[in-house]
């Protein structure tokens, strides 16, 4: 939807493709044209580049925007687009290949003089090989899938004895997730922050950075909350990191939007992690503090237009926070909870942006990543952006399925988060800490009284037809009895 809307705003007609699981999705509803790809599994639909190119050829499409997932970092698909004469909205297949694999990206980083975490530049082929490399780097070490992202195929290894089994697990996970079992090793930085730099490069050699995003709040190496700017990045560090990211992009001949991910330690040393060669899910926080539209810019760059501004024109203002709302249950081990949405009330108003594709009556499919919505708040200061988010989350209601909204409420009210004392293991620490007292009191609390009154009233009204509340007033006792109050309390 984000991309479709941006394209429409530039006067571009849109063609959506969909799997059987997504026929009722909003991007199909709002597109100018829509074509079925195949059955629900991504391997038979959204990962079938050949089918997508067939459709593009048939309907005469000029360009393909690959979105955030699926084929967005697939160099072979980008190459196939190039060969078919269809613009791929992203970097060239060549740049993607250089940066897309972590192993080759690290080689490139070394060549460009970009600091990175000590580690292997080639995949570990055996346990023995891995052990030798790990000893050279020094424990603790991290295993990572060469082709991957999003935490799949990643394992932290504290000591030698754990290495062999962790390697096997990481390799099989990498194979399943990415079709390649290549796994490499690197040094584990203690309590690092995950901070990334947004870069934009046009086809005329202009490369700029749009400040940083703080993505340290992670669970299982998946980003949970993102912010811009980072509370710990000052002007000097921002310029150093930004110029480093720009140097890397230039070295790779990079075009379009990309993100250089770094680990930052307490001494403001930063280490290059990887380059994401696509638009990131968390791009809205950068848009809100820069006032720019990254999807518009992606499309303009892909069309060969030069960047309409220079580095000096970029000014950051205020603070933005994004919560990734998932269909998963924080009280039940973050188990996915797809299903029918039976009630929906979304926050809106000053400083609130929501990029979502859900609606009342939609069934969250089993088949894909269960992200429901990105809720983003903006305010002049970080403290106000947090308060705004807390109240927006209070207002947010998604009925029928479990969501991680309560997790965000817990994080946002945590003193460490409010003081920006966060690193990539912050959330694991918070979650392993004693959960906030569930206040199972002996006596009935005031809130329980209120909930009980509501429960009784809902119960008394159930069974009565009430189409979206429209007929609620007309429903009989007890709804009507209390409608008029005599004077003031």
């Amino acid at each position: 939807m984000r991309i479709l809307r941006a394209a429409r705003e530039l006067g571009i007609s849109t063609v959506a493709v969909y799997s059987d699981a997504d026929r009722r999705a909003l991007h199909v509803l709002h597109a100018d044209e829509a074509y079925r790809l195949g059955p629900a599994p991504a391997s038979e639909s959204y990962l079938r580049g050949d089918l997508i190119l067939n459709i593009a050829a048939q309907c005469g499409a000029d360009a393909i925007h690959p979105g955030y997932g699926f084929l967005s970092e697939n160099a072979a698909f980008a190459e196939a687009c190039e060969q078919a004469g269809i613009t791929f909205v992203g970097p060239t297949a060549n740049a993607m290949r250089m940066l897309g694999s972590k192993t080759s990206a690290r080689q490139l980083a070394d060549a460009a003089g970009v600091p990175r975490v000590p580690g292997t530049t080639t995949a570990a082929t055996s346990a023995k090989d891995a052990l030798a490399a790990a000893r050279k780097i020094g424990f603790p070490v991290m295993l990572k899938a060469a082709a991957g992202g999003g935490g799949k195929g990643m394992r932290a290894v504290e000591q030698e004895s754990e290495l062999a089994s962790a390697l096997t697990a990481a390799q099989s996970e990498a194979q399943r997730a990415f079709g390649s079992s290549d796994v490499y090793l690197e040094k584990l930085i203690v309590r690092p922050r995950h901070i990334e730099i947004q870069v934009l490069a046009d086809q005329h050699g202009h490369v700029i950075y749009l400040g940083e995003r703080e993505c340290s709040v992670q669970r299982r190496h998946q980003k949970v909350i993102e912010e811009a700017p980072s509370a710990v990045v000052g002007d000097s560090l921002r310029r150093r990191m930004g110029e480093t990211a720009v140097a890397l992009a230039r070295h790779a001949g990079y075009t379009n939007a990309g993100t250089a991910e770094f680990l930052v330690d307490a001494e403001e040393n930063f280490y290059f992690l990887e380059m994401n060669t696509r638009l990131q899910v968390e791009h809205p926080v950068t848009e809100l503090i820069t006032g720019l539209d990254l999807v518009h810019l992606q499309l303009q760059i892909a069309a060969g237009e030069p960047l309409p501004f220079a580095q000096d024109d970029i000014h950051l203002r205020g603070h933005a926070i994004e919560c990734r709302i998932y269909a998963e249950d924080p009280d039940n081990n973050f188990f996915p909870s797809p299903g029918l949405i039976t009630g929906l009330s979304q926050p809106s108003g000053a400083g609130i942006r929501e990029d979502s594709g859900i609606y009342d009556g939609w069934t969250v499919p089993l088949d894909y990543d269960p992200m429901l919505s990105k809720l983003v708040t903006y305010a002049p200061t970080r403290a106000l952006a947090i308060e705004r988010m807390r109240h927006a989350l209070d207002d947010y209601f998604i009925g029928g399925i479990a969501t991680n909204i309560s997790l965000f409420q817990r994080i946002l009210s945590d003193a460490d988060f409010q003081a920006a004392r966060i690193d990539t293991s912050y959330l694991d620490r918070l979650l392993s800490a004693e959960p906030p007292a569930q206040s199972v009191t002996e006596t009935v609390t005031h809130s329980e009284q209120v909930a009980a009154i509501a429960a009784a009233l809902f119960n008394a009204s159930s069974g009565k037809p009430s189409e979206a509340g429209a007929n609620a007033e007309a429903a009989d006792t007890p709804w009507k009895q209390a409608r008029r109050r005599e004077g003031l309390r």
Binding site: A177, D329, N332, N333, F334, F335, P336, S337, P338, G339, T342, G343, S345, L366, D367, Y368, D369, P370, D394, F397, G399, G400, I401, A402, I405, S406, Q409, V440, T441, V444, T445, S447, E448, Q449, V450, A451, A452, I453, A454, A455, A456, L457, F458, N459, A460, S461, S462, S466, A468, G469, A472, A475, T477, P478, W479, Q481, A482, R483, R485, R489
Partner: protein, 161 residues
């Protein structure tokens, strides 16, 4: 209108009469308006509350000020009277699947003793592996599924005594 509401492990007796409600005998002034099928504007003694009704496959709850209160209605006239989640810490613990998925691995066997937080089995759904843990210690009375089984939401996986 009279209802007994089981909430937070306690039973609250309510009687609604026009613009007053008696809560365990205490008389409170109330005013209420149904905003939609699952949203209620409730004013109790001047305090305003937005109350949301959330029905999932496993329970029924009221959400007030961002907090979720699972409940059960105990009333012969009520159609629905489910067991509130978390209510009742006595008796055997039923481990249920909260969503459809596939049983990847069964970790413990019937008759084994388990401690709180111990993993019982692994269910895969949406490409994620999830270890189902027990919240209480005890002996595994029954494992109701086998590896490779497809399970539905709410389906019983195991019972801990």
């Amino acid at each position: 209108m009279q209802r007994d509401i089981l909430i937070g492990g306690k039973t609250i007796r309510l009687e609604v009469n026009g613009d007053h409600v008696s809560v365990d005998g205490d008389d409170l002034a109330v005013d209420y308006q149904l905003i939609s099928a699952n949203e209620l504007s409730l004013i109790v003694e001047g305090r305003a509350y937005r109350c949301l009704l959330d029905r999932t496959v496993t329970d029924e709850a009221i959400i007030v000020a961002g907090k979720r209160y699972p409940f059960a209605v105990e009333d012969p006239r009520a159609l629905k009277s489910r067991k509130a989640r978390g209510a009742g810490t006595e008796g055997p613990l039923q481990i249920k699947s909260s969503m459809p998925g596939r049983v990847l691995r069964v970790i413990v066997g019937e008759g084994e003793d388990v401690v709180p937080g111990q993993g019982l089995l692994v269910v895969e759904a949406m490409k994620m592996q999830n270890e189902m843990k027990t919240t209480r210690g005890g002996r595994v009375r029954r494992i109701a599924v086998r590896e490779g089984d497809t399970v539905n939401a709410g389906q019983l996986l195991a019972i801990i005594d």
